[in-house]
């Protein structure tokens, strides 16, 4: 009996440091992960502070809250709820090309719309000079100036469209249920085929340096409003996105 007790005691003694060691390892790996997550958060906050200190507009994509906001100097100018948020990396023969781990803690700038808005400005040549004392002819009335088109009339909004940034990051914006019902099956197939071809080309880096693509689905009105009002050369900050 005593021998049995001694064996049990020996096993317990031998096992306890191992168990303690495992616990310590788990705790240290847990605290390491927390520290890493905090370091990432701080790096992003510093980046956001720098963006907010500048004079440029920027987009803030909050993955945790699923919101996309247009910002200037730390102030939210417009805020959109995302119906769906995805993020992707190029993949070649099932092998994905992952970006550096800290890609979202580095500056992302000079975003431009693709396809671009083609602004059609009205051009008016001033009427010839009329002498100060000259009286207008009887019945003549000055023609009213032309009224420019509103944004809704000026820009049709493609879906999807992209905001392409200089650092190889792009934001693809899709309108929720983007006209699927209004388009013919042939049109949808054609669009899908052209998107697939573009994706293939960018994944194979045929003339593109895209490393990360963020895909947000917005309500159709929000997607259109963002397309029509996005200022040129916007920056981007992405927060709350967990690494893949």
């Amino acid at each position: 009996m005593r021998r049995l007790l001694l064996v049990a005691l020996a096993i317990a003694t031998a096992a306890s440091p191992a168990a303690g060691g495992q616990g310590t390892a788990a705790a240290s790996s847990g605290s390491g992960a927390t520290t890493a997550a905090l370091a990432r958060e701080v790096a992003q906050l510093r980046l956001e502070r720098d963006l907010a200190s500048g004079k440029g507009f920027y987009l803030r994509l909050d993955a945790g809250r699923q919101r996309l906001a247009l910002m200037l100097q730390g102030v939210t100018l417009d805020d959109y709820a995302t119906a769906k948020l995805e993020w992707g990396v190029p993949e070649v023969v099932f092998v994905d090309r992952r970006p550096p781990a800290d890609w979202d803690a580095s500056p992302i700038s000079r975003g431009r719309l693709e396809p671009e808005r083609d602004r059609d400005r009205l051009e008016v040549v001033a009427p010839p000079l009329v002498a100060a004392d000259a009286k207008p002819a009887e019945g003549a009335s000055p023609s009213p100036p032309p009224i420019p088109k509103s944004a809704e009339e000026s820009y049709s909004v493609p879906s999807p469209y992209r905001v392409v940034f200089a650092e190889g990051v792009s934001l693809e914006v899709r309108a929720k249920g983007h006209g699927g019902r209004n388009r013919s099956l042939f049109r949808r197939l054609l669009d899908a085929a052209s998107l697939r071809a573009a994706d293939l080309a960018s994944a194979l880096r045929l003339g593109a340096t895209e490393r990360v693509r963020l895909r947000v689905t917005l309500e159709a009105d929000d997607a259109a409003a963002l397309y029509r009002s996005l200022p040129p050369d916007v920056g981007l900050i992405v927060v709350g996105l967990k690494p893949r």
Binding site: V42, K55, L77, D78, F94, E123, P127, I147, A151, D199
Partner: protein, 243 residues
Amino acid sequence: VSAGPTPGPAVVADAEAALGRRVLDRLRAAARDRRVRLAAAGLILFLLALLGTGWDFATVAPGADAAATVKPATREALRLAAESERLQAALRRRVPRGPWIVIDQTHNRLRLMHGDDTVLEAPCSAGSGMILKEASGGRRVWVFDTPRGRFEVLSKAENPVWKKPDWAFVEEGEPIPKDPGERMEYGSLGEYALYFGNGYMIHGTLYERLLGRPVSHGCIRLGKEPLREVYRAAPLGTPVYIY
């Protein structure tokens, strides 16, 4: 013209079976050919490679950030948490505590804010984006855009008088006066004006029916009632954000 005898169903079935056999025989013969097998294998590999090439997307689920949910335990983590808190507070302080104005010049909407709350939202008219060219020999060109960015209310005026710039005369085909007094126009800017720099201001309009459309020469036109409210609520120094 006489038609030949119509083949019976049994004859047709035999012909179809014979054709099927011939096709199968050809396929079998082709499958025995090494080159064809290699080509088929290459095609399958290519299709597989194509299937695995493109963009691999992962859906992001909403939720709190991992760092925010775990309590920091080490000294380094505590330091980082404190810095994170400090940076977040600094960012929160960027939102004006008092009144501020946001103008969406694409959709011609003005919002008067107070802290995080929207106090007023009204249609306005921003710059038309039109280009005006001087007639007969003149080389001057004006672009009627509203500037984007952050501005501040620099001065305010009741019953403002408009000192007409050159383009206002050129646009009408009138000679540019030499006497500055002839540039003054009364009543066309409405009851109030809030200047935010470089000759731009938020003011009233005689053409309220055009509010909501981009028709101004760069200033922001606002309806009578909203203008009164903005004028009363926005002291000097009020931030104006235009996008």
